[in-house]
Point group: C2
Chain length 142, copies 2
DNA sequence: CAATTAAAATAGCCATGGCTATGCATTTCA
DNA sequence: TGAAATGCATAGCCATGGCTATTTTAATTG
């Protein structure tokens, strides 16, 4: 018989996957957060984006350039940054995942403030399958 | 009265923390994996490290240079890479965290292969406090 | 022991994601 | 309405983490 707990993936595959998740993590955080700013203030200015990300203003400008290149955002100087449909969709998905991860961690006993801190990184590495398990866990306890 | 569910950290603090975790993630994976190779084969050669990481050989050489600079490893050409005490300690901690995260995910219902995949990224963002919660969860169900 | 082969190092390229300093354009307001 | 203040963009630096191509060095073998 074949080994009952086979490896499924090579380490190289796992590492490649983690590297890929890392590469998109920053853009995910930007779109989610730009969505938050628009929700809160009706607009997302470069300076506010930089402040909320905790980076210098030119760093935010550069990142916004990448968002534009990826078709996730547009911007008009002195008028703010806007999410495209694609960007808004991504923001929604990312925000949902963020909330689910935080709620799940809290549900298993992690203090809320710690859960928020850890979730900011964890969220980018949780697969749809794992996310579904978290949601089921949450439902299964009302 | 003061808000009972206060924010605790600014978004900028959370993002900074996630960025920091990301910065060390790669070195953690290298030391853990080098430890595995030494365990399995008695030595960790540059070519094997590169293959297991899924990167080109010069990429591994460069990373090993960083490990050395950080005091985590030493190396002798044609003789392999070795972990310092500090490196071996880190490898042990990282491996323990990896195992705990995988076991926890499996315990809540994530398929093993998916758990392995997700854990490779998640492990670097799990705080000691959250890890302790995962361990308690695992103990509390034998 | 010389020649071959294999292993590792080096050179040099690219993109990302940080930063500071500075320039320019738009708003705002006296 | 023109000066001042503000907001944003640009230039240019650095480290990291990828890559390919090439060179060097060590190990192996005829
Ligand atoms: Mn995040
Ligand atoms: Mn988030
Ligand atoms: Mn990992
Ligand atoms: Mn790992």
């Amino acid at each position: 018989m074949t080994d009952s707990h086979s490896d499924d993936q090579s380490p190289a595959d796992r590492f490649a996957r983690a590297r890929e998740a890392q590469a998109v993590a920053l853009l995910e955080d930007y779109v989610e957060m730009i969505g938050d700013l628009i929700e809160e203030f009706g607009e997302a200015r470069v300076a506010d984006i930089a402040e909320r990300m905790g980076v210098a203003q030119p760093t935010a400008t550069k990142a916004i350039g990448r968002l534009k290149r990826e078709g996730l955002a547009t911007s008009r100087p002195y008028r703010g940054v806007f999410l495209t449909d694609k960007g808004a969709d991504l923001a929604d998905r990312v925000r949902g995942r963020h909330r689910t991860v935080v709620e799940f961690l809290v549900a298993v006993g992690v203090p809320h403030s710690v859960a928020e801190l850890d979730a900011e990184g964890i969220e980018h590495h949780v697969s749809d399958e794992t996310l579904a398990v978290f949601e089921r866990f949450l439902r299964g306890r009302g």
